[in-house]
């Protein structure tokens, strides 16, 4: 199908974007990579009057490391994340996740920020952001504010972004501890939306788990933290994770605490079952 008509404006600064948003209100949509927006325009599911293109806003680009904080600009593409030495060194879980995101041609244009703001429950980046305690840097007419990932993803396709606000970047504070990461997703075909996915990020203080994040995605309307499982992991060693009793306990905890929703072809029961399976595989892999 052909998209309905709209106007187009390419912005060159964050301030210009904010002004255009205020001026146009609900009639405007921001276009980042366009890989989710354009299909919905082409299928006439979305009908904005004006598109504001972020492609020319340099402030939104780039991956930097400064004083133990990694900053990913909202307009960083998935391919740029994949190719980034900084990411591979400091946030390897993102590097692990990239190949699961759609396909190369989409990754060349799709952006970190676009994915986070679109907040598809099956998306990898929101889950990773949650697992890494990322902080969303948001610009609005009152200046910048910061929102923790756990407060950012509110509901299906809904984030904490208010009207006339723009996600500028995401910040990750590097831990002084050793990290152990695990990423897995089950999908019918390579690059498809996940049936169920898991992101595990553990921080070890001299072999003891000081902090853990276990995030499931594509099971509910947002990525979800398995807080009960995290509590079980606290203060354990990696060796503990291979014990059958621990795995059983963790599985049962995950299955009881994670509320799953069905999708078109996978029931809530199926997803709940997979929640347990993925955790078991994660624990065994991490322990090994």
């Amino acid at each position: 199908m052909k998209a309905a008509a709209f106007n187009y404006q390419k912005a060159s600064s964050v301030d210009e974007v904010l002004n255009l948003l205020i001026k146009n209100g609900d009639n405007a949509k921001l276009i980042a990579g366009g890989q989710s927006l354009l299909p919905s325009l082409n299928m006439r599911l979305s009908n904005p009057e004006i598109l504001i293109d972020l492609q020319g806003v340099e402030e939104l680009k780039g991956i930097t490391e400064h004083n133990g904080v990694i900053r990913i600009g909202a307009m960083t593409t998935h391919t740029e994340i994949q190719d980034s030495d900084i990411i591979q060194k400091h946030l390897p879980i993102l590097h692990q996740a990239v190949p699961h995101i759609a396909h190369r041609a989409i990754r060349n244009l799709g952006t970190w920020g676009g994915s986070c703001v679109y907040a598809d429950p099956a998306a990898e980046w929101p889950a990773c952001a949650l697992a890494l305690d990322a902080v969303m840097v948001i610009a609005g007419s009152n200046g910048q504010r910061r929102v923790a990932a756990k407060d950012f993803f509110l509901d299906l396709y809904t984030t904490a972004l208010q009207e006339n606000e723009l996600l500028v970047a995401t910040e990750f504070t590097l831990s002084k501890y050793t990290s152990v990461d695990y990423f897995d997703e089950l999908s019918r075909r390579h690059g498809d939306y996940a049936v169920t996915g898991i992101v595990c990020h553990l921080e070890l203080d001299q072999g003891i788990i000081a902090k853990s994040r276990v995030v499931y995605f594509s099971v509910a309307s947002t990525p979800v933290l398995a807080e009960g499982v995290q509590a079980l992991l606290q203060s354990k060693t990696l060796q503990d994770l291979s014990q059958t009793t621990f795995i059983e306990q963790a599985r049962e905890m995950a299955k009881s605490e994670i509320m799953t929703l069905s999708d078109l072809t996978n029931s809530a029961h199926m997803k709940k079952h997979l929640v347990g399976v993925l955790l078991e595989r994660a624990l065994k892999h991490i322990a090994a």
Binding site: M1, A5, R189, L264, S267, M270
Partner: protein
């Protein structure tokens, strides 16, 4: 890398055989690697307009009023046309065939009048200068309609007290058939083993990458040209003549490059007629390209069946009988002109096909539903018949404790039994089941796989091996459609012309869909005439320039089109030799044509080039004997008349690993041994087989048109309807047995559909083999991870 090995040579069919049987690349395909393909949507014509259809948003509605006024004011809109407007130029049709006794269907219009009977049925046409403008105008079309109860369940369709979709027809049965051969009840009663199962097949569709596309151009002088990506241009020419009261002399159908068809593009769609009708009304070119969302709703669907099957076997491992009860749900109308009953009819004909049992009973009910119409799609009933047969065969084998491959070897029709009439009445010329089974056993190293499967099971890794023996009809005679009154040709023709410089142009009535038809015709023509292959040009697809024929369907291109090319080439060669003989003053029998030159057969001395034959034959006929007129253009037609169909056979094997915790299936490897008679080009046939197998795997594991309780298709887009992509597909090893057909000189049988016929059976059997340690099985296609977990009782 799996480069196809050249096959053991059969006796040559031409004097100088250089290309037939060889893996010659398709010279005509080079431009497709350069972006120089010509697909219908690539064409622009002067004054061309675009049509978009307002399609019924619900499964069943009464159309009350169509208000066009607001639309006419929209920018670029040229016309708004409804069913009544079109009925003035286009007749309705009823799609039945007289040889399917008792078949019934209701009249259908190009644009629905009074009622729309499926979500997606076209109701109103908006014509504008651009597609975008037509789509902009769509929301302004005011159609007053009232939703009607919808018939969405096959079982409900059979319920006599329930809703009747077409009250005039009395019930919802489009076609029913009963077959009862031998003493089925007695066999089941005495059998040592009786196994039964219910087999489900999810409705799915073809998803050609190039959507259906058409440009209809009716000019003011009364001539209609339709540019169409179609498999059977002459069939469409005939239909346009009859539906619009035009003469064949004034109707031309032109096909260029076709971006995949698989049967989806062999049917006559209501929007085909609507687009033509609009052009007739407006007297300008009208382009219609189905966008992908429309394609899911409007392309034909196929393969929605529930089949209860039983098999009876003796203690010694002999199959005694099969019985099936097939319920299949089509759309609200049988599809024009090939009808929606053929698929079910073929299931009845083909179940049990490879085996030598003498007792068989089948019951078929083809029922109407308010869903997208269904019709022939690659393999037609074969994938279903094969999956049912082979699933039952495995159940019996397992019950008896006999190895599944061994069980098949014991029960297939022996290779020396032909000609043979199958228990359902099908006439089999010559097949090679035994050879194929032996060959696949070796090809896959079956004993090693069994050993590997056993040792991995002990480690909790569950792999399965599945077989599917199959038969596949090809090279049909008029038994398929002609005898039923359909004006669909079962014969094809080829015209070969030698130009003055000695190059040849070959026009054939079978068209190129990507399967390599033009490539193999070039090989055959080059060998038949005796020229290098780069001296051959192919013309197909244009009814104005090709002989009259049937086109591409039922795997007939190589066997029937190829034979016509061969006969024409041989006849042209004769004529060339006559001229040459006169020029060099020798007897024609002493000469031969080789590599574009005339040679003395005895001493292999080169005499004259073909260009000299052309020079004299065209420009210097004064140098030839008085009553001798050179004929350097020859046409031959061929029709297969020895059998209703020339059946082929094959066997496939699938090796899978089932993750019993997630339900995900990994396809490790796939093998196919295929006997399609003389293989004209091993490389082309092999990848045809692979493509067909992957398409079959699609239906087995991934593809299904999903409907909600209101009859709305829920996954009609390319993110949610899952077609096979590269990562999940296995490497597929293909081997051949060649048992030529004697019904033609060429000896070629068809090969396009066999892959699809056997793949689902093999894969489902492999999955069930993997699950044997759990004592469960699943015959519900597509076999999704969720279904596997449910079968394993890990989830409700």
């Amino acid at each position: 890398m799996n480069k196809p090995k050249e096959l053991p040579a059969l006796a040559p069919v031409t004097n100088e055989q250089r290309y037939i049987g060889m893996s010659e690349p398709r010279h005509g395909a080079k431009r497709l690697t350069e972006g120089l393909g010509k697909y219908i949507d690539d064409l622009q014509l002067p004054r061309m307009v675009h049509v978009v259809y307002w399609r019924s948003p619900v499964a069943h509605m009464r159309i009350k009023k169509i208000n066009k006024n607001a639309v006419m004011d929209m920018p670029g809109v040229v016309a708004v046309i409804d069913g009544q407007d079109l009925a003035a130029v286009c007749k309705p049709w009823v799609a039945t065939l007289s040889h399917l006794a008792g078949m019934k269907s209701a009249p259908q219009h190009a644009l629905a009048i009074d009622r729309a009977c499926w979500q997606g049925e076209p109701v109103v046409a908006i014509v504008a200068k651009t597609r975008a403008q037509a789509e902009d105008a769509l929301p302004f079309l005011d159609v007053e309609w009232e939703e009607l109860p919808a018939l969405l369940d096959m079982h409900a369709a059979l319920d006599e007290s329930g809703m009747v979709l077409h009250p005039d027809l009395g019930d919802n049965i489009c076609f029913k058939r009963s077959l009862d051969v031998g003493e089925v009840d007695a066999q089941f009663a005495k059998a040592a083993v009786v196994e039964e199962a219910t087999f489900k097949f999810g409705r799915h569709t073809g998803v050609t990458l190039e959507p259906r596309s058409q440009i209809a151009h009716y000019s003011a002088d009364g001539r209609l040209t339709v540019y169409h990506c179609q498999q059977a241009p002459h069939m469409m020419q005939d239909l346009y003549c009859r539906q619009f009261d035009l003469s064949e002399s004034d109707v031309r159908v032109v096909c260029f490059d076709v971006g995949g068809s698989f049967g989806i593009k062999v049917h006559a769609y209501p929007d085909d007629f609507a687009t033509v009708g609009i052009s007739i009304l407006l007297k300008r070119p009208v382009k219609y390209v189905a966008d992908r969302l429309e394609s899911y709703l409007s392309d034909i669907h196929a393969r929605e069946h529930v089949i209860k099957g039983r098999i009876a076997a003796s203690a010694e491992g002999e199959i005694l009988a099969f019985e099936i009860d097939d319920l299949t749900g089509i759309g609200p109308y049988s599809m024009f002109p090939r009808t929606s009953a053929i698929e079910g009819n073929q299931v009845v004909n083909l179940v049990g096909g490879p085996y030598k049992h003498k007792h068989y009973r089948a019951q078929l009910n083809v029922v109407f539903q308010n869903k997208t119409p269904t019709c022939q799609y690659r393999g037609v009933g074969h994938p279903i018949a094969c999956a049912v047969t082979e699933g039952l065969v495995d159940l019996a084998a397992r019950k008896l404790g006999i190895d599944p491959l061994e069980f098949r070897k014991r029960n297939v029709i022996p290779d020396n039994a032909y000609p043979y009439t199958g228990v359902s009445g099908i006439k089999l010329e010559v097949l090679s089941h035994e050879q194929c089974l032996a060959k696949i056993e070796e090809l896959m190293d079956y004993p090693s796989l069994l050993a590997e499967q056993k040792s991995l099971r002990e480690k909790g890794i569950y792999r399965g091996i599945g077989f599917a023996t199959l038969i596949e009809l090809t090279n049909p005679s008029p038994a398929f459609y002609g005898v039923g009154g359909a004006r669909i040709a079962s014969q094809d023709g080829a015209t070969i012309r030698m130009d003055p410089t000695g190059v040849i142009t070959v026009s054939v009535s079978v068209g190129e869909q990507g399967q390599g038809a033009e490539g193999i015709f070039a090989q055959i023509a080059a060998d038949a005439v005796g020229v290098p292959i780069d001296h051959v040009r192919l013309k197909t697809g244009d009814t104005e320039t090709i002989p009259y024929g049937g086109g591409t369907w039922a795997s007939r291109g190589a066997g029937i089109g190829g034979e016509a090319v061969l006969l024409a080439g041989m006849a042209l060669r004769e004529n060339i030799l006559k001229i040459a003989a006169s020029i060099v003053q020798m007897d024609a029998s002493q000469l031969t044509v080789k590599n574009g030159k005339i040679f003395d057969r005895l001493n292999n001395q080169e005499k004259i080039p073909l260009s000299e034959v052309g020079r004299i034959g065209y420009y210097r006929t004064d140098l030839l004997p008085p009553n001798f007129h050179p004929e350097l253009t020859v046409t031959r037609h061929y029709s297969q008349k020895d059998f209703p169909f020339i059946f082929t056979n094959g066997v496939q094997a699938s090796y899978v690993e089932v993750d019993t915790q997630t339900g995900f299936v990994k396809l490790l490897k796939h093998w196919a041994v295929e006997d399609c008679g003389r293989v004209i080009n091993p490389m082309l046939v092999d990848e045809q087989m692979r493509g067909a197998i992957v398409q079959g795997i699609g239906g087995a594991l991934f593809e299904e048109c999903l409907y909600d309780s209101q009859g709305q298709m829920m996954n009609g887009n390319m993110a949610d309807y899952l077609v096979p992509m590269a990562t999940e597909m296995p490497d597929i090893e293909v081997a051949h047995v060649q048992t030529p057909t004697k019904s033609s000189l060429l000896g070629a049988k068809g090969a396009g559909e066999a892959g699809t016929a056997g793949a689902p059976g093999a894969v489902v059997n492999a999955i069930n083999d993997a699950l044997v340690p759990f004592g469960v099985y699943n015959f519900d296609q597509p076999v999704t991870p969720q279904k596997i977990l449910q079968t394993l009782k890990l989830i409700p």
